[in-house]
């Protein structure tokens, strides 16, 4: 008992002490004192769901996969334009429906196998295979027969519009012109995967097999997977077989899984990271006023929103959804919590040149209350408690707590928060095991279509249970529009349908807010926050 007396307060003091001392502990090894290997240390947010390009859906995974694989085309050094990837040149038929890609004859996989048009065909076949259930399969549906193949209406892949006249030529026949096709091809859903490797570790349509482990991995990108320490980091090193237009200058990249922005920021200050994923909300102002600040606030083509589970009462009632959407003071969230110049989102599709929203939300508490009462829940009476699901990150929690309070005081709606780790969260979201889920969507290519095709009935990234045949029909006409203004007009109408039906609750349009070390050279960033890793360099 005597020992116990002493022991009890000590952990308390340790807890406090550890908390106070933490920044001191962060003084970790300084960077590159000697000109060693040039390793870029990149704060990548969270542990990736997987490294299989046909399985994943997130931005986190995109960062790593775009280093490990290369598609037909890739980013140029400015990250705004298009540079040859596996295809060294390409041409389009006058009707813009047939695209012919001539592949680099010396293209290789990281195990030395040569990379041919057949690899692409087999990869496209894999992502479209119904039994794989890839969330992103719909990205390839522009090609003739692809959609029918995914739906099982065609079983012979040769009947689709993908073909390879010879080993180094790939032809895509589209069902409608896709003005942004080259941009779309830079997305991982179009990347080739090495089928012989995948098949060595299980059937091609099995998810989560062991082929993505470092010992087994085969890719074709500028970097190749070296180590994978779960929940810590993934390192990639320069691929000896990569024969792109540019040889990577970095020796490797370390992708750190840190889902606490405070820990990440301390690592950056201690010199353990060159680039962070985000900045703690409380520190943005301090960084902003700093001279030669490492803070970067850049445009980011994405929307931060809450998904409603439209299959669960009471959220299956559009009036309830609208009431919840109207009761939120987005201005206060953006100005007082986020503080990096984000725009309140009063409709879903983020601003884009030529696109104007057809309808916007007019937040008004009185109207929200009226709608909730009309739905049978005056002042929130009789409404069950609603749960907001978010993935582990302080900023999501703060926003959720603000919204929790707005719904509570404004509408009398009880809200609980549920926090889940990234993979579990993705799973809950996909299996509709939530009431309201925090979400973000970053464009896969710079065109509003990447936001609007989310809500197609049964779409892999729909995750709300929303299904509207009229919407699907209108979306299908968008790419057949004769010109850009006509296409934008259809987008406008689609966006207005979403604003009316509200399967999601738009909150704000993103800004990319991060810290960047001055040691990083050739850094570039487009509105999708993508770049070719092969261009980057580090100062000694």
């Amino acid at each position: 008992m005597r020992a116990r007396l002493l022991v009890a307060p000590i952990p308390a003091l340790l807890l406090l002490g550890a908390a106070l001392l933490a920044p001191g502990c962060a003084k970790a090894p300084a960077l590159d004192a000697t000109p060693g290997p040039k390793i870029l240390r990149f704060g990548n947010g969270t542990e990736p769901q997987d490294l299989d390009p046909h399985i994943v859906t997130g931005v986190t995974e995109h960062h790593i996969i775009s280093a490990l694989f290369e598609g037909l085309v890739t980013y140029d050094a400015s990250s705004e334009g298009t540079a040859p990837g596996v295809a060294e040149r390409w041409e389009t038929s006058p009707d813009k429906l047939t695209w012919t890609f001539h592949l680099r004859p010396d293209a290789r996989w990281s195990n030395g196998d040569s990379l041919t048009a057949r690899d692409f065909l087999r990869s496209f076949q894999r992502i479209l295979t119904p039994s794989l259930g890839s969330e992103y399969a719909y990205k390839l549906h522009h090609v003739v027969g692809a959609e029918e193949f995914t739906k099982g209406k065609i079983t012979d892949f040769a009947q689709t519009g993908f073909s390879a006249p010879d080993d180094h030529t790939l032809v895509l026949r589209l069902k409608h012109p896709v003005p942004y096709l080259l941009e779309a091809l830079k997305h991982y859903s179009w990347f080739p995967v090495h089928l012989p490797t995948i098949e060595k570790f299980g059937p091609a349509d099995r998810r989560g097999s062991r082929w993505t482990l470092p010992a087994n991995f085969v890719g074709n990108g500028p970097f190749v997977l070296k180590t994978w320490l779960s929940n810590q980091m993934i390192t990639v090193e320069r691929s000896p077989t990569y024969r792109g237009a540019v040889t990577p200058r970095l020796d490797g990249i370390a992708f750190y899984a840190v889902d606490s922005e405070d820990a990440e920021e301390r690592m950056f200050r201690g010199g353990q990271l060159h680039v962070t994923q985000t900045v703690p909300l409380g520190r943005i102002d301090a960084y902003r006023s700093q001279p030669a600040s490492p803070l970067v606030i850049a445009p980011y083509y994405g929307t931060y929103f809450y998904r409603f589970n439209t299959t669960r009462p009471p959220l299956d009632d559009a009036r309830v959804r609208r009431a919840l959407a109207l009761a939120i003071d987005r201005e206060a969230i953006v100005k007082n919590i986020l503080r990096a110049g984000q725009e309140p989102a009063l409709h879903f599709t983020p601003p884009y040149a030529g696109f104007t929203p057809g309808e916007v939300l007019r937040p008004e508490l009185a109207e929200a209350r009226r709608l909730l009462a009309a739905a049978g829940y005056p002042e929130g009476r009789g409404l069950r408690r609603i749960e907001i699901l978010h993935n582990t990150m302080e900023a999501h929690k703060v926003v959720a707590e603000a919204i929790q309070q707005m719904w509570k005081t404004g509408l009398g709606v009880d809200v609980a928060l549920r926090n889940e780790e990234w993979k579990v969260y993705l799973d809950s979201q996909h299996s509709l095991a939530f009431d309201v889920a925090r979400s973000g969507w970053i464009g896969d290519y710079p065109d509003p279509h990447t936001f609007l095709d989310l809500w197609v009935s049964g779409g892999g990234n729909n995750n709300t249970g929303y299904a509207n045949p009229a919407y699907d029909r209108l979306l299908a006409t968008a790419l057949n529009a004769p010109d850009e203004p006509a296409r934008m007009a259809i987008y406008r109408e689609l966006d207005a349908i979403i604003t009316r039906d509200l399967p999601v609750l738009p909150l704000y349009f993103y800004k990319r807010v991060y810290l960047l070390s001055p040691k990083v050279r050739n850094w570039s960033s487009n509105i999708l926050d993508n770049r070719g890793w092969q261009y980057l360099d580090l100062a000694n």
């Binding site: 008992m1 005597r2 116990r4 007396l5 009890a8 307060p9 952990p11 308390a12 003091l13 807890l15 406090l16 908390a19 106070l20 933490a22 920044p23 606490s260 405070d262 703690p280 909300l281 409380g282 520190r283 301090a286 003071d329 206060a332 969230i333 100005k335 007082n336 919590i337 069950r384 408690r385 302080e394 929690k397 703060v398 959720a400 707590e401 603000a402 929790q404 309070q405 509570k408 009880d414 609980a416 928060l417 926090n419």
Partner: protein, 321 residues
């Protein structure tokens, strides 16, 4: 409220001229221990503040003022405000309610399970004793925190149902997350009783050989009556001491669970969650850590000093060491 164990064994002042009873001796000894007295007064004042003051603050733990944001301590907000503009003073006081409540209730849970279990084992003896104590040994061998975490995860769904049910009553309506707190009581109480059971069993083994127990048995009293009327009152000293030392341990455990995100749900806060949030932001908003952290550390210290004083006062043998 906290000093209750200290006053319980005492006798009213009116009886001062009576011969010295052990309880009165203990009370006198405790009073001579200044640290223990100061600690007791501090704890009483703290408990009083946490229980009585919050409704009069005019601000709840969840009331936000987004345009205010995080501000340092001022006349309007004594402990400053957090990022959502919530008054930290209110949050610390409401958090104190939760932390103190968890500390006391979970200790009481541990106390009742431990005393009953230990007394039965010690009194019956033989095979039942061996069996009961082996169960304790096995539970002891389980990694304690993992066990609590498992219970918390396992109880999550039933507790949500309980929560929904409890909140149908008007007076509990505003206590969001009450189910989770009940879950915390159960989880922590379920692991904290083990040492108590061992201590009580050891004491009972000594006491049950005494003549007055023999006498009670000869008079034909039932076993339950003998245990609860004759044995337990005579082993109460060590039990009281151990309980005062369990309370800070339980509060630590609660804050630890909250630190891991298994504690109370937002927007409710306990000292553990406040310290966790404060620790993340201490460089920018140090007051978010200093106030709950300082108060928590002081409370633990006071509880330990009081427990120490009680041990010296009640446990004559230990005091002679």
């Amino acid at each position: 409220m906290i000093a209750a164990p200290a006053t319980a064994p005492s006798v009213p002042p009116a009886a001062a001229e009576r011969p010295h009873s052990p309880g009165r001796d203990a009370w006198l000894r405790l009073r001579r221990n200044r640290l223990a007295v100061v600690s007791g007064i501090f704890l009483l004042a703290l408990a009083f503040t946490c229980i009585v003051v919050p409704p009069f603050l005019g601000q709840g733990y969840a009331d936000q003022n987004l345009s205010l944001g995080a501000t340092s301590p001022s006349a309007a907000h004594w402990f400053g405000t957090d990022e959502l503009g919530r008054d930290q003073f209110a949050r610390v006081l409401y958090g104190g309610r939760i932390s103190l409540m968890v500390g006391f209730v979970a200790s009481l849970v541990a106390l009742s399970i431990g005393v009953t279990y230990g007394a039965v084992a010690g009194y019956v003896g033989g095979k039942l004793d061996a069996l009961l104590m082996r169960v304790v040994d096995i539970l002891y061998a389980l990694p304690f925190t993992i066990f609590v975490i498992l219970i918390m995860v396992f109880l999550k769904e039933p507790m949500n149902d309980l929560d929904a049910w409890l909140r149908r009553f008007d007076f509990l309506k505003n206590l969001q997350g009450i189910g989770k707190i009940v879950g915390l009581f159960a989880a922590i109480g379920a692991v904290e009783w083990l040492t108590m059971a061992r201590i009580v069993r050891g004491q009972v083994l000594t006491v049950k050989k005494m003549e007055y127990i023999e006498a009670a048995r000869t008079l034909g009293y039932s076993h339950a009556r003998i245990i609860f009327r004759h044995i337990i009152p005579n082993v109460l000293g060590p039990v009281i001491v151990f309980t005062t030392l369990t309370i800070p341990a339980v509060m630590m455990l609660e804050s630890f669970l909250s630190f891991l995100g298994l504690g109370v749900d937002a927007p409710l806060s306990s000292w553990g969650t406040l310290i966790k949030d404060g620790a993340d932001k201490m460089e920018d908003f140090p007051w978010l850590l200093i106030f709950p952290g300082g108060l928590f550390a002081t409370t633990l210290l006071a509880l330990n000093l009081l427990g120490d004083g009680l041990r010296d006062a009640l446990d004559v043998r230990a005091a002679k060491d």
